[in-house]
């Protein structure tokens, strides 16, 4: 059916101009549609890249995060903790899933870089968003242990690290 219709088109008188117009119109729509699809995909793709095996491991851990002097006390105390064997910086400080993880890492990485470049990095304090990320990651690994208690943060409760202040590195 379709090929036959295709063949039919050129035979119609004066259809050429109309068809050209319609193709032009159609093209604009197509471009718009493609853009609408491609831009988010590109963003998602770039973010996801942050969590893909090679990039993820290259841009994480004491070797990467500890490269700036300002991080040294935290990296050094972390290296002396038992978490050293089980978790790297991003295991706690970046959401685990690809999509949110990638987006958060891109955002917080840019923010930290800007802070270092502009010299506003004297006092490192975790952000409220960052706290929620860490809390989620505490429970991601320790969920079996915490299955009775659940999320201590629920309904205005405390974060795990409000009490476990020195875990896994100094505050």
């Amino acid at each position: 059916m379709i090929p036959k219709k295709d063949l039919d088109f050129p035979k119609m008188g004066g259809a050429d101009i109309k068809n050209k117009k319609s193709i032009l119109l159609w093209d604009k729509k197509k471009i718009l549609l493609l853009l609408l699809l491609a831009v988010p995909l590109l963003i998602i793709g770039t973010f996801s890249l942050m969590k893909l095996p090679v990039v993820s491991s290259a841009m994480d851990g004491p070797g990467f995060c500890g490269r700036c002097h300002v991080m040294q006390p935290y990296v050094e105390t972390y290296l002396a903790s038992s978490h050293r064997d089980a978790a790297t910086c991003g295991s706690c400080h970046v959401p685990h899933d690809v999509l949110r993880g990638g987006a958060y890492k891109a955002y917080t990485g840019t923010k930290d870089l800007l802070a270092v470049l502009t010299g506003r990095d004297e006092h490192i304090r975790i952000s409220n968003l960052g706290k929620d990320v860490v809390q989620e990651n505490c429970l991601r690994c320790h969920n079996t242990l915490m299955r009775e208690i659940g999320d201590t943060r629920e309904n205005g409760g405390s974060y795990c690290f409000d009490c476990h202040r020195g875990v896994p590195h100094m505050k």
Binding site: I2, K5, D6, W26, K30, L33, L34, L37, L41, I44, S48, H96, D97, V98, L99, R100, E136, L139, R140, N143, T144, L145, M146, R147, E148, I149, G150, D151, E154, N155, G156, G157, S158, D162, C163, H164, R165, G166
Partner: protein
């Protein structure tokens, strides 16, 4: 039309990709798995902890530890003050208390408390003089009380001690602090709900961390019974500090009893544990009662909230060392440093008040005494004993708030000395 086809393919690929990403996200969203028991099986007014225990065996086990009764030798390994003892008398330990509480039930029998599972047994065995206040004495002794208050309404407070006590089977239990439907913390005692409302707080909008203290504040607070209705009320109208409560009582012209020797209208303070804790350094740091008294403890491969209500000195590892980096020994030394000083000041204040009572009594018997100055001495005695009792009845020997404790006891000593001076002045002054 080939373009249409391409578009279809592109759309399909995009959809597949999005589904794939979605599934990956979903797969990794492995959030904490919580054990969910059959909540609806527990009745709304189930006061029997054993029934709850079927669904929460680990919590019930830790709750059963409340049956442990300390011997003085055992307890000395942990702490110096407090402890869950069977009938250790305050009156033997602090003889001056007999003078201070003369004319009141507390001078007849006043024992160290023994824990939440003995509330009914101990209140039934106390001297009948102490049960005279009536039904209201039972309010913090059983998990069945909230439903009885609901049943009788405001009449509950006017009923006799035994009328209510005979109906009680279960001591403090799960229902006192938990909603059986959701297991969320809840406030079951009307007095606290009313006190919170009087402070402009919405009891429905309290955070989990606030609730972890407020469930304790249902009972571990100073309270009084309104003269006419005998309704149990918290004196929080002017604030939670000792001075503010005294002001509140003075405005009401409230007193619990008349001291037979000095003729002073006195107020009995009741364990203001929560009020002293508020404004302490721990409270300011966001710590709740439960954080120290009900720490998360490991039971096998799971952590639960301990329901053994006792001195944190018995489990410093879980209570203190989670936040503090110092050793348990160092911290304990710090605690004793606070408690030893509070203890000394408490006894100093108590003995000074005893002297004040004797001086006022002596003046009262003196013919031609200046009554106006003597009344001033009585007012000072009322203040001194209020401050002293605030700290004497409080359960932490100062640790809940060291600075405030010594401030309050300092006030007590000062008022007692002024009372002595005034009483002596009343004898020598011109009429």
């Amino acid at each position: 039309m080939r373009d249409k086809k391409t578009l279809l393919i592109v759309t399909a690929v995009v959809i597949v990709f999005l589904i794939a990403v979605g599934s990956v996200v979903f797969y990794y969203q492995n959030k904490e798995v919580t054990e969910e028991p059959i909540l609806s099986a527990i009745k709304d007014d189930e006061a029997d902890p054993a029934v709850w225990g079927k669904y929460y065996p680990r919590h019930y086990d830790s709750y059963q530890k409340n049956l442990i009764v300390d011997t003085e030798e055992d307890y000395s390994k942990y702490g110096k003050y407090g402890g869950a003892f069977e009938k250790v008398s305050h009156l033997d330990k602090y003889p001056y208390m007999k003078t201070l509480f003369a004319g009141y039930g507390f001078s007849v029998e006043y024992n160290e408390d023994r824990g939440h599972l003995y509330t009914l047994e101990d209140i039934r065995n106390i001297t009948p003089v102490r049960q005279k206040a009536g039904a209201v004495c039972n309010t913090c002794k059983s998990a069945q009380i909230p439903s009885l208050i609901e049943k009788y309404g405001e009449d509950y407070y006017l009923m006799g001690f035994e009328e209510i006590n005979d109906q009680l089977k279960h001591s403090i239990a799960c229902l006192d602090c938990h909603d059986p439907k959701t297991m969320e913390l809840r406030i079951s005692r009307p007095a606290l709900l009313e006190a919170l409302k009087s402070q402009g707080k919405d009891p429905d909008k309290l955070t989990r961390q606030e609730m972890r203290s407020l469930v304790c504040a249902q009972c571990h607070v100073e309270y009084y019974m309104q003269p006419e209705t005998k309704k149990l009320t918290f004196p929080w109208g002017k604030g939670l500090k000792a001075d503010e409560m005294l002001e509140y009582y003075d405005d009401l012209n409230f007193s619990d009893w008349l001291h037979p020797d000095s003729g002073t209208k006195l107020i009995k303070a009741q364990h203001p544990d929560y009020e002293l804790f508020v404004n302490s350094t721990h409270y300011a740091a966001g710590v709740s009662c439960a954080d120290c008294h009900m720490p998360y403890v490991k039971e096998g491969n799971v952590k639960i909230t301990s329901h053994w209500w006792t001195s944190p000195l018995k489990h410093m590892e879980q209570s203190c060392l989670v936040c503090h980096r110092e050793s348990a020994e160092e911290l304990k030394e710090r605690i004793f440093y606070t408690q030893d000083r509070t203890y000394e000041m408490k006894n100093l204040a108590g003995k000074t008040i005893e002297k004040a009572i004797q001086e006022i009594a002596k003046s009262a018997k003196t013919a031609g005494v200046n009554e106006k100055i003597l009344d001033e001495a009585r007012t000072l005695h009322r203040q001194a004993q209020w401050y002293w009792d605030w700290m004497a009845a409080e359960n932490s020997m100062g640790f809940h708030n060291p600075q405030e404790s010594l401030y309050i006891l300092g006030k007590a000593v000062d008022c007692a000395h002024k009372a002595i001076e005034k009483a002596q002045e009343a004898r020598t002054a011109e009429r």
